[in-house]
């Protein structure tokens, strides 16, 4: 077996209300040190994690959404978002924050990390992963 595995972090829940989203991100940041092939997926209420303009002042909980924008620095380049989950919640790609990474194969050009894909494509992403961690 190759030393590099495909890790998929599957985010299914809203960013606040439960701790799953925050503790998922903590695994992603630690896991980045292991130089595996990492991707994040956002389905169901998990798509709310990437919405822009999050403000948690009213609930006394830390707004951790800026951390997503730093993921490029951790060499995390793939954030898959399920289109149907967005549409079912009245959201579109325009409601999502901008997350970029620098492509080392293309003169370090900044490219968008968020890729909106269909439910069928998301199934392929999951099937293709070696390790799926579901939060």
């Amino acid at each position: 077996m190759s030393d590099v595995k495909k890790f998929l972090y599957l985010n299914r829940r809203a960013p606040y209300g439960t701790i799953y989203a925050l503790e998922s991100l903590e695994v992603v940041l630690i896991g980045a040190a292991f130089e595996q092939d990492v991707a994040l997926a956002f389905v169901d209420d998990g798509v709310f994690q990437l919405t822009k303009g999050q403000n948690t002042d009213g609930i006394g909980v830390k707004n951790f959404s800026p951390t997503f924008r730093a993921l490029g620095d951790y060499d995390v380049q793939k954030l898959y978002v399920e289109r149907e989950s967005l549409e079912e919640r009245g959201l579109s790609e325009d409601d999502l924050m901008e997350v970029v990474y620098e492509d080392e194969d293309d003169d370090w050009e900044e490219k968008p990390a968020i890729r909106v894909i269909s439910r069928a494509e998301m199934a392929d992403v999951m099937a293709d992963a070696d390790v799926v961690l579901s939060f």
């Binding site: 595995k5 799953y20 503790e23 292991f34 390790v131 799926v132 961690l133 939060f135």
Partner: protein, 130 residues
């Protein structure tokens, strides 16, 4: 087959820690290896040695401690998740100036890297959560 197990819900409220225990027992009986079980989110609460369930109920922590002892399973509790929830071993209790520790025999506190390492080193990673 080498199987890693992740428990991500707390004891008694959720079935996850029980199902994981039954799964590991069955996997070992079928000849598989389970080198490590990782406890995350509220799953870290499984490791408290202060749990006192009624006598006619299963004792989830003691079940895990006994199984780990018999089969040499590495029971790892995530330190970040544990500290949030008041789960401390003696070292951490001293370091944080707390007057007690509560980690049961057979469990050890360590970092999230142990979860990633388990994913890399095992053939399958099986999650028991919600």
């Amino acid at each position: 087959m080498k199987i890693g197990v992740l428990v991500s819900e707390g004891p008694y409220t959720h079935q996850a820690a029980d199902t994981a225990y039954k799964f590991v027992t069955a996997a070992l009986a079928a000849g598989h290896e389970v080198p490590r079980v990782f406890f995350y989110h509220d799953g870290v609460n499984v490791a408290t040695r202060l749990s006192v369930p009624p006598q006619d109920e299963r004792h989830i922590q003691q079940n895990w401690t006994a199984l780990a002892k018999e089969h040499g399973i590495d029971l790892v509790v995530c330190i970040a998740a544990a500290q949030r929830r008041g789960m401390l071993d003696e070292n951490e209790a001293n370091r944080q100036g707390k007057d007690a520790s509560n980690i049961a025999e057979g469990f050890r506190i360590s970092g999230l890297g142990q979860l990633i390492e388990m994913g890399i080193q095992t053939d399958r990673l099986v999650t028991f959560g919600d």
